[in-house]
Structure formats: structure tokens, C-alpha cells
Amino acid sequence: MIARRQKSKRRQQLEALILAPLNWLDERDPKLLGGVRYFLFRKVPRETNWFHTLGSATLTAFLVQLVTGVILAMYYKPSANEAYDSIQKITNELTLGWLVRGMHRWGASVFIILLFLHMGRVFLFGAYKYPRELNWLVGVIILTLALFEGLTGYLLPWDQTAYWATVVAININANAPILGPFLGDFLRGGTEIGENTLSIFYSFHMLVIPGGLIGLILLHLYLVVRLGVTPPPWSPAAAGYEEEDGRPARVGLLEPRPRGNGALGRPPRERTGA
């Protein structure tokens, strides 16, 4: 920490108190905090605007779903005879249960809406173009998994809406050519919807799909940091990168030079020609 001007003793003590554990970590592995520091203080284009926050907003919505979902799982009972009653108990009896369930239920819609808004921003800003196509593809898988989260979560209240919506949803899947009938039987856990269906959907909803989502979101973020934030189309810097001194990068659309320095490893090999 650079002391720009004289600090009061109290402030110095406070800083030492906060920095002591961080320094301890830094001494063990400089890359640990270096990575965090790099993530937080990395260079972004000058023209970033509020539309660029949609991705972070989506991430926040996902984290809300993650936390509220974990808490709901403590009180929810995924069995055919208890599921409906346990949801009623969460909503009507347990303290603040209505709030957490409401956050999870409405947050699901917020998550999906933000995903689409974020996708629209990426599309309209041309941020899916070279070299960021891979991140677009990862994002598409994230979107698909998020929709599957919605589908599997819809069954869990185990009321009439949930039951018949799932009957229809599974039969739509079962109508896919060739492998559809097998997919339908797998999702149902048999030829007819039963209690196995509920636990299969529960397992997918809280274990399989969130696990995949977390991994893909980390990959998504890594690629964002690695390849840099795309400036908006009206930016003079085009889709390139600014040099560290703030000048526009020498490379343009045809020859972007991804800038990854320090904590996240070497930048990729220079590309020549176009």
C-alpha cells in the first residue's frame, strides 16, 4: 500500500488489521491474491456502459438462486407424499420461508430474463465475434442449462400445475425422433410418471445442472478476463484492446491481440496475417 499522505495512527492500525491476513496469504502464494487483484483491477475499454453490467447482474441472479436453493433444500422433502406439504410448510409456517421461496421462485424468472438481456447485449455489440466465439458457445450452453433448471424446478412444488406441466414437458421430449422414447422413459424413471420422476428431477435440479452451470460460468468468466471486454460498436478502439497507457491498441478487428498478463498466464501466441 502506497501512503500518499500522512495517515492517522488509528487508520494505520485499521489498515494493518485488515491487511495482516491478506499479507499472510500473499506471502504463501502471491498468485492467490494476485489473481483476485488482476480480476478486479484489470483494464477495460473506456466506453464500457451500463449495458456491460448485464452479465454481472445475471451472475448475481444465479448466486441468489444458488444460496436460496441451498436453504430451501434444508426444508424441502423430495418424496411424492411429502413434497407438497413441505412446500406449504415452507411458505406458510416456517419463519421467513415465504421470503426465501419467493426469492427463489421469482429469482428464477429474473435469472432467465437477465440471461436473454445479456445475450442481446452481446449480440448487438458484436461481442460474439472473433476471438470470443467460444465464449458465445459456452454462454449458449449456460442458457440451455438454465432453461433445464426452470423445467426441473417447476415440478418440485408437486401441485397440479407442476404435475401436468411436467407430463406435457416429458412427452414433448419423448416425441423427439429415434431416441425420444428412451429420453422420455429416462426422465420419468419408467413408463409412467411416479415418485421416481420427482427425485430424478430433484437430483438434476439441485446437483447435476447447478454443478455444470458453476463450471461453465467459471469458464465463461475466465474467457471474459482472458479475452477482454468488448468495447461498444461506436468505440474508436473497435473490438481491439487499449494499450496500458490508454491509447487504442495497434491491432484492430482483424488482428486482435488478447492481453492476458501476470496472474492468468501467458498471452496466446501472436497471430500474423489476416
Binding site: A80, W164, V167, N171, A174, P181, F182, F186, G190
Partner: protein, 307 residues
């Protein structure tokens, strides 16, 4: 490449014993011995014998130079020599020790991963396909079903699942055909997307609840001119043929039998089309398919395999 990593080995006589396969057999003998201690004594003795024999061979091999025996007539080239000669195109089959270990590690890892993963995957998928037979359901005495009139019967299809295990069928007694009772038993499951169809018409009597060997059965006589689905507007006539809406075939039916005067529902089956009415109807029957799947016509090529 081993020769990149160990350039200082050039021209140096290797001090370690030359490679041998005896330790593998020795380890196998030890493993057999340990298994045998648990399983049976003869196996343990065989294992101990193998371990002793190959242990002896291993020791003899390893101490050959110490005992200053003359080298075998064709000494096997040692590992470092192999690595040095690797770049020579005349001997392409030679595999360096590190390469062999790399392959062995990957291969063993794949085998172990497969041994762990395959049963788990099988357990994840197979229960949905194995043992999915339909148990016969006792619907009660035949006298409850007046001739040429539908009765909506709701019965326990699967025990232990509460209301979830209940299904509904529309049952009509067609009277005697060739001196055998003829029944039309139509499943309420809409063949568009699986919602419950409802009979179109007023109730034809008071609902009754009877007990049979398959649990409780509710019966509701109804004057049905056809069946309709509330979800997406599928409509069927009194024989289950589609008359309007999105369904792709006629309503499914149940096989039936009559035992001791009681109506027994058997396996459900899918129906392409029904010609005629009542006991004279000709039913184009197919194996039970999920709702929405074509069982006849050109579209059936989409569903060649039905589990």
C-alpha cells in the same frame, strides 16, 4: 523424450538391474495369497507358491551381476539404451520406459474409471427400462357396467404412491359377442401430450366406490358421446378416434380378462384407428407408445425403437 531429459546418461554403464517382468507375477501371487486368506485356503497356498517361485526368479535376476554370472547370450537392451536409440528409424517398435509408464497409467486409469463409472451410469439409466411390466388391476364385478354405456373407473394402478398411482379408464360393456362379454376400455390419457381427457356428456348415475383385490375403485356412470382434453383441445369420438385437435392417433386401450365375474385390466396398448363400433369394432392395435408418437403412417419411421 527420455533422451532430452537425461542427456548425461550418454556412454555411462547403467548400474541398475535390467528390466524384468518377474515382479508382476510375484505381485500377482501375493494378491492371490491375500484373496485366498479371505476366500479359501487352497487359493492362498497356490498364491503363496506363485509368490515364492517368482520371488526367487526375481531375486536371481536382480542379483545376476552381483553374483558375477556370465551375461545371457542375448542381453536385453537396458532402458537408457532404448531411449538413446529411440530416434533411429530402424527400430520403431521400441517404447521407452517413461512412455510405457505413461500409457500404462492412462490405460489403468481408464480401466479403473470405467469400472467405477459404468455401474453407476447403469444404475442411473436402467431402472427406468427394466421390469416395467403392467400389473393386472381388478376393477370389480361385471354387473357394475351396464350395456352400451360408459362408466368412468378410477383405480389404483401402482400401490404405495397414493393418488399418484391412480389412473382412469372409460369402460363400456358391449354385451355378448360370440357368447363372450365384449368390453371397450379406453385409457383417459390424451395421446397428444398425456393430459387427462374428460367424457363429453352428463353423468348417468350416482358415483360409487367399491373395494376390490386391487384396492379401491371409483365408478361414475356417464353418458359420453366422446372425450375431450382440457389442455390443448384434443377431441375424440365414443370409440376413441380423433375427431379434432392435435392428437396423432386414437386413444389407448387396455387389454382385459374376466376372472370369477370380475373385470381385470391388463396391459395397455396403443391404437392407430378404430373401424366400426362396439363389439364389432376392428382395432388397429400397436405396442404402447408415449403420447404424441405416431404408431402408423409414414411418421412412424421417427420412432423405430420403443423401449
Amino acid at each position: 523424450m527420455a533422451d532430452d531429459l537425461e542427456p548425461e546418461r550418454h556412454g555411462v554403464e547403467p548400474q541398475h538391474p535390467s528390466p524384468t517382468i518377474w515382479p508382476f507375477a510375484f505381485a500377482g501371487g501375493i494378491a492371490l495369497l491375500l484373496v485366498g486368506i479371505v476366500v479359501s485356503w487352497p487359493v492362498a497356498i497356490i498364491g503363496a507358491g506363485i509368490a515364492v517361485i517368482f520371488g526367487f526368479l526375481w531375486i536371481r535376476e536382480a542379483t545376476r551381476e552381483v553374483r558375477a554370472l556370465p551375461p545371457p547370450p542375448e542381453p536385453e537392451p537396458s532402458v537408457s539404451e532404448l531411449a538413446l536409440e529411440e530416434d533411429e528409424p530402424s527400430e520403431p517398435e521400441r517404447v521407452s520406459r517413461s512412455r510405457f509408464l505413461e500409457g500404462a497409467t492412462l490405460g489403468l486409469g481408464a480401466v479403473i474409471g470405467g469400472i467405477v463409472t459404468l455401474p453407476a451410469l447403469g444404475f442411473m439409466v436402467l431402472p427406468a427400462f427394466v421390469g416395467q411390466e403392467y400389473e393386472p388391476v381388478d376393477i370389480g364385478p361385471l354387473e357394475n357396467f351396464p350395456e352400451n354405456s360408459y362408466v368412468t373407473a378410477t383405480f389404483v394402478y401402482k400401490k404405495g404412491e397414493g393418488r399418484l398411482g391412480r389412473r382412469t379408464a372409460f369402460i363400456r360393456n358391449n354385451g355378448l359377442v360370440n357368447e363372450v362379454p365384449s368390453m371397450t376400455i379406453i385409457s383417459s390419457r390424451c395421446v397428444h401430450m398425456g393430459c387427462p381427457t374428460q367424457p363429453q356428456g352428463p353423468p348417468g348415475g350416482e358415483p360409487t366406490e367399491i373395494k376390490t383385490s386391487s384396492g379401491s375403485v371409483s365408478l361414475q356412470p356417464v353418458q359420453a358421446s366422446g372425450f375431450g382434453c382440457p389442455c390443448h383441445g384434443g377431441a375424440y369420438d365414443a370409440e376413441g378416434n380423433r375427431t379434432a385437435g392435435p392428437p396423432v392417433r386414437a386413444l389407448d386401450r387396455y387389454e382385459y380378462s374376466i376372472r370369477n365375474g370380475n373385470l381385470i385390466l391388463g396391459t395397455p396398448y396403443s391404437v392407430g384407428e378404430v373401424d366400426g363400433e362396439g363389439g364389432k369394432a376392428r382395432i388397429k392395435a400397436y405396442r404402447l407408445a408415449d403420447p404424441g408418437q405416431h404408431v402408423d403412417g409414414i411418421e412412424q419411421v421417427f420412432y423405430p425403437y420403443v423401449p
